[in-house]
């Protein structure tokens, strides 16, 4: 995934943040859920179009410096969530909103 891309949470995805820091994303269209660990939940929270993919990965790497591979894992998660439709590129999100 290109690190300069800006990603946004799809508007109709339900986010259930749990007390243990994990979260469940529920796609009401596909009727399926995707559980994220605490780092994944934090990554998801960053996806408001403010930071690029690379900047989000940098943030996570800085915040979770003691977690090995966190930058690579964050990039992989963002790519996976984008591919499965939970995240959309900000241009696409703006187009969808305008429609």
């Amino acid at each position: 995934m290109v690190e300069s891309v800006y990603l946004l949470q799809r508007a109709d995805i339900e986010t259930h943040i749990m007390p243990d820091g994990t979260c469940l994303l529920f796609d009401v269209v596909g009727n399926e859920g995707r559980a994220l660990n605490a780092a994944g939940a934090l990554t998801w929270d960053y996806c408001d179009g403010t930071l690029s993919v690379g900047e989000i990965a940098d943030e996570l790497a800085e915040l979770l410096a003691n977690v090995p591979q966190v930058r690579a894992d964050t990039l992989a998660l963002l790519a996976e969530l984008a591919q499965s439709g939970y995240l959309v590129t900000s241009e696409h999100a703006l187009t969808s909103t305008a429609q």
């Binding site: 007390p19 243990d20 820091g21 994990t22 979260c23 529920f26 009401v28 859920g33 559980a35 660990n37």
Partner: protein, 302 residues
């Protein structure tokens, strides 16, 4: 004209009225055994928190009159077939119309006032494990349909005394464990009920059971999100509660409970896990704040 006699049953606080069977030799008694003694016969309809199921005799078979969408229009050749079908349909209708915050496809057991849910799809081994746990002091609330109600700001499992459907193999396993069962109920060879039931209790543990022949016993903690993911797949559709509200209630449940997966083939080893389960169940309400990673706090406040 003599009015058609009706049988009415209260299931999950919903009245199910069955018409067209009163003249059959065995169906009224079978339905009483399966659905509980019928309540006072009076007019119930959909506007009065009730549903009506009507059977009609057509030659040698019974058929359901005006089946709703999704209900199979199956010809019922024997009274036994009709009893099985009506039992399934009555519970299906009751669950769909239940005015409860959440109803799960789950077994549930209680010990020392703590309920543990065992949610999973049919065939995962819920029933055998749920009933066998009585040998270790965990009494069943239900093996299949678990309704939950609001009580003091949390969800409490109230259970459902529907008959359990047991294969001959499961029955033999339960007999070997010394589990006392009532049945066969209504003359149906695979319909049994436990002799002792638990009282309603708040849910503090969620164990997702999976029987796999030959598998070692694996008991693994899961995150609350993973637990919620499982629960969302096990919620029964209810006309009275929107899907997003059911998911929100499932999230409240997962937030209060400790979640685990249990894969097993040796029943005794699975039962042993439950001997120490209470000690492993963390009271989330007491430790919630300490379990939230500091990083989430800093992110939230940013």
């Amino acid at each position: 004209m003599t009015p058609d006699p009706v049988l009415s049953y209260s299931l999950l606080s919903h009245v199910i009225t069955i018409r067209g069977v009163a003249s059959s030799p065995t169906l009224p008694d079978r339905l009483d055994a399966l659905l509980g003694s019928h309540i006072e016969s009076r007019r119930h309809d959909r506007q009065h928190n009730g549903a009506i199921l009507t059977l009609r005799r057509e030659g040698d078979v019974w058929r359901l009159v005006d089946p709703d969408d999704g209900v199979p229009d199956t010809p019922l050749h024997t009274e036994e077939q009709a009893a099985r079908f009506l039992e399934w349909l009555a519970y299906s209708v009751a669950v769909r119309h239940a005015e409860l915050p959440l109803t799960l496809h789950s077994g549930a057991v209680v010990r020392n006032g703590v309920a543990v849910l065992l949610p999973n799809v049919s065939g995962a081994g819920k029933t055998t494990l749920t009933l066998a746990l009585a040998a270790r002091g965990w009494l069943p609330l239900t093996d299949d349909v678990c309704p939950l109600v609001e009580c003091d700001g949390e969800l409490v499992a109230i259970g459902c005394r529907r008959c359990c459907h047991l294969s001959e193999a499961s029955l033999a396993i339960l007999q070997a464990e010394g589990i006392a069962l009532e049945g066969p109920v209504a003359g149906l060879s695979d319909f049994y009920r436990p002799q002792d039931w638990a009282e309603p209790a708040p849910v503090r543990g969620i164990v997702i059971p999976r029987y796999i022949a030959g598998s070692p016993t694996l008991f693994t903690p899961i995150t609350q999100a993973e637990c919620l993911g499982q629960l969302t797949g096990m919620t029964f559709a209810q006309d009275t509660i929107p899907a997003h509200e059911r998911r929100r209630n499932a999230a409240r449940l997962a937030a209060k409970a400790s979640g685990f997966t249990l894969t097993y083939s040796a029943l005794d080893e699975a039962l042993d896990i439950f001997e120490t389960l209470e000690a492993r169940i963390v009271d989330s309400s007491l430790t919630e704040a300490s379990r939230i990673p500091a990083i989430i706090h800093s992110n939230t406040s940013a």
